[in-house]
Amino acid sequence: MANKFGKLRDIFPPEKASLRSARSKPGVVFDPSKCTGCGLCESVCASGGSNSEGMRAPRVHIMRGDVPGTSFAILCQHCLDPQCLKACPNGAISKDRDGVVRMNKKLCVNCGMCIAACPEAAPFRDSQGQVNKCDLCGGSPACVAACPNGALTYAQGSRKLWIAPLRWLCQLINFLLLVIFLVGSVCSLNAITFDLACPFGVLQNVFSTKAIVLATVVSALLLMLFSFIFGRAFCGWICPFGFILDLVDKIIPHQLFRMPRFLRNRVNKYGVAIGGLAAAGAAGTQAFCTVCPIGTVCRSYGMNTVMAGAETAIVPALAALNLGEKRSWCRYFCPVGATLGLAAKIGLVRIEIGAPRCKKFSCMRCADACPMGIIPKEQLVQGLSPSINMAECISCLRCVSACPHHAASIRFIWQKKKTKPGKIPSDCQSSKGDAS
């Protein structure tokens, strides 16, 4: 639904945030474990900040906890996509070129809509009824300088930029190996001393021949073991069809159409898997393998088997699904990924987002970067740590690379959890009642 942003915003258009500011977002990062709740940041801010404006209401508040480490500073996070900017009916709030969210007091009527729209209510209403918010003191926040424990730090954010080239290189090498040079394809690969086989192919084989050959089962278990240790890293780092999908997304990053709702269901891939097994049992051959995009890309596009007939059409057709949603095939349909996901679900590796340094609703870069769309923005925007289903995660580490505050990380199952997802009371529409 189109928001009716006002006439005032048309007269005073907010400056568009430039690409540079979108990359390096200024802001104050708060570390709850270091805060003692002394309140120096509040008093320094109240005395005018770095600009020495004179006494004013502070723009930062400490919520003091009983136990050390539970105090918390409420202050503006200067969001990438500010909710207050969307909610302000007068267009008084703008995100400037330098990434700072500012409030134009000439347009502000102190209505308090920004306070209601902000997930942590960071704009404050002072005793005169004036609404104020942090403007980062023009680049050198006084609260950061005043904090004696280093709980507040001024951060532009830095990203782990080496992950993406490493992944692309790994995918390219594996694509060349599996598709161009090794004709056998990933479905069953005879390496020098041991066999590797697609676990879903082996399952189909078992169903079609009604006999279990120990050698093939062992060779399938190798890939399951790999998924148990590293998650579905096969999908993110090795799979040649996944590489094609990532390339399609790189070339055409727009959403051109929207798939029907019944197709956009992650359970579908288990349905495809069961259907594939049933077809294998009924037909007596590995029926799904003839249309599997991973198999056809290996068989039909190599150097030795030049464009094998109708099979070549499968890969472009399924890759076109990517224009509806990133990695649509992997999300909703791929039975191979579903099989690997079973191992990854109980596996050793977890992706954890929302360590204390996570800025949640103000950033949400991880949710934008995730090709599988498993980082729920609904949770992030409410200030909660997202829960990530490892059966869906392809371990591509895009979230780890996108997070400027190092809040997205890999956690092995024996390591301690850094986050504890909480719950905000729901039923927002039923709150009508008498105010007495």
Binding site: M1, N3, K4, F5, G6, K7, P32, H61, M63, G65, G69, T70, S71, F72, I74, Q83, K86, A87, P89, N90, V109, N110, C111, G112, M113, I115, A116, A117, C118, P119, E120, A121, R125, P356, K360, K377, E378, V381, Q382, G383, L384, S385, P421, G422, I424, P425, S426, D427, C428, Q429, S430, S431, K432, G433, D434, A435
Partner: protein, 147 residues
């Protein structure tokens, strides 16, 4: 009884001097939120409805006032429109204000809540729950979830 109380209210807040200039409607931040704002929901509309003796139950504008007092400050005739609206709200059987779902303190008027959920919910499949909290409860829950 209603007519006499309206007369008292109107004379107390100076509503009889309204010249329908519409400056209050131009200043009102909630003008962005309604389609047919100017005649019915606007501060001018409310003042005119009071002068015509319309029942408070038929005044939709009462549910959208944020009490920012911009109309009272701009009014060239010196009408305290925001004060008038606050008095009119007391006549309603139930105040048109949403309350915090934790502590029960009054927050935004209902129309403002609707406008807010349209503005901030866009793009989310499930409704956000935090706009149901008053600022201090919101800060407390956020701090509890993140410390």
């Amino acid at each position: 009884m209603r007519a006499s109380s309206y007369h008292d209210l109107a004379s107390e807040y100076g509503a009889y001097s309204c010249v329908e200039c519409g400056k209050c409607a131009a200043m009102c931040p909630m003008a962005e939120t309604a389609g047919s704002f100017s005649r019915i929901k606007s501060p001018r509309g409310i003042v005119q409805q009071v002068l015509r003796g319309v029942s408070v139950n038929d005044m939709p504008g009462l549910a959208s006032c944020l009490q920012c007092r911009q109309c009272s400050q701009i009014c060239p005739a010196g009408i305290d429109i925001a004060g008038l609206i606050a008095e009119l709200r007391k006549l309603l059987p139930e105040p048109p204000v949403c309350v915090c779902s934790v502590c029960g303190s009054p927050m935004l008027p209902e129309d403002a809540r609707l406008y807010l959920s349209r503005a901030v919910d866009s793009g989310f499949e499930e409704k956000l729950s935090y706009p149901a909290l008053c600022p201090s409860c919101k800060r407390r829950t956020y701090a509890k979830n993140n410390s």
